[in-house]
Subunit: 208 residues, 2 copies
């Protein structure tokens, strides 16, 4: 805490305070991870009182989502995608994911992905966002236990972000021609396998 | 041809001529596609004689690869990956693809992908590179016919580029921990399905 990077010392309550806190949060979460990154350290880095972070953002969770500029609140996905259980979860995840990209909020999703690609700090935050806020949270709501959560979550992210990359950022013609329902049929079984295949089938050890 | 965009009129043979031709080639291939983009039109846009393009680059194919700054020559992949036939082609493609990223040439691959993400012209060229130079060329060497080549090729690209994106550009920890052989086991069946699944299983019409 003592050696937290001190940002330029703006007064608490100045219009830039919120941005100062977000910038400090990005630094601290990227360096320490979401679990270990403390509000105290973020407050120290931003030069504000921890109470002010609560005032602006409420929970640590909401501070993280604001810092990473999440294009959606992953908590909103859980009931629809994971609530109905493991059967068909791959198709539902693809359909919901593409639904976000094809909605008016799709521009925010594109900005989010571009930023994750071009800025190292954001890459790390997006990895934490995907693993902790989406996958770990989601599998708790499934009706079956899931092993190797970080590896499976990263595999799922590699396909979903790759689909957004080629279809929505790069504009691959054949993928642009497909809507969320068509893509759910094509990609759903991939996501289903990454989430539920026996570890041995993925070449993963059984004991982890 | 008459309305080809004319670039600043450098003299043929000046040190910048090669770069002028490459810039003109990017514009023309992005606008017209690889098949229809003609060397005549590129020569006109660069303000040089078409013979000079042959002098610098040999074939249209090699001009395209230079324009797109391809991190490898796809012709080199074909014997190893597609030559042995359709069985196991998914695993071989993943292993070879990751081998490029993990080689000393991996930096060029990263620059190639970043450029494809951030520049619209390059996105279009990379799409053409993947579909025409890798996939269409590759399936000709397989021992079975392949339908829906553009769609299947785009699906394969969405997974392979998504893997490079999350593992190599964004640095997802769980994926960085895996080498080419481990990733081939994990991702090979995905690529195999995209390339060989019955069209109905992918929700594609049977007649295309």
């Amino acid at each position: 805490m003592a050696n937290a990077p001190k940002r330029s010392g703006r007064r608490p309550g100045s219009p830039d305070t919120r941005e100062e806190i977000l910038a400090a949060a990005r630094d601290v979460f990227a360096a320490d991870g979401f679990e270990r990154g403390s509000l105290r350290r973020i407050a120290a880095a931003a030069g504000v009182d921890p109470a002010l972070i609560h005032h602006y953002f409420g929970t640590k969770d909401r501070l993280f989502l604001a810092a990473v500029e999440a294009p959606f609140d992953p908590a909103d996905l859980v009931p629809t995608v994971f609530g109905p259980g493991v059967e068909g979860v791959g198709e539902r995840l693809v359909r919901t994911f593409i639904g976000i990209w094809d909605s008016p909020g799709g521009n925010r999703a594109a900005a989010f992905l571009r930023s994750a690609i071009n800025h190292r700090t954001m890459s790390t935050l997006v990895e934490q966002f995907v693993i902790n806020h989406i996958i770990k949270n989601a599998v708790r709501h499934l009706d079956v236990p899931v092993d190797h959560v970080e590896t499976r979550g990263s595999m799922i992210a590699s396909q979903l972000l790759g689909l957004a990359l080629t279809r929505n950022l790069m504009g691959f013609r054949a993928l642009r021609a497909m809507d969320a329902d068509a893509l759910a049929v094509m990609y759903g079984p991939t996501i289903q396998r990454y989430l539920t295949a026996d570890p041995a089938e993925l070449g993963l050890p059984h004991d982890a």
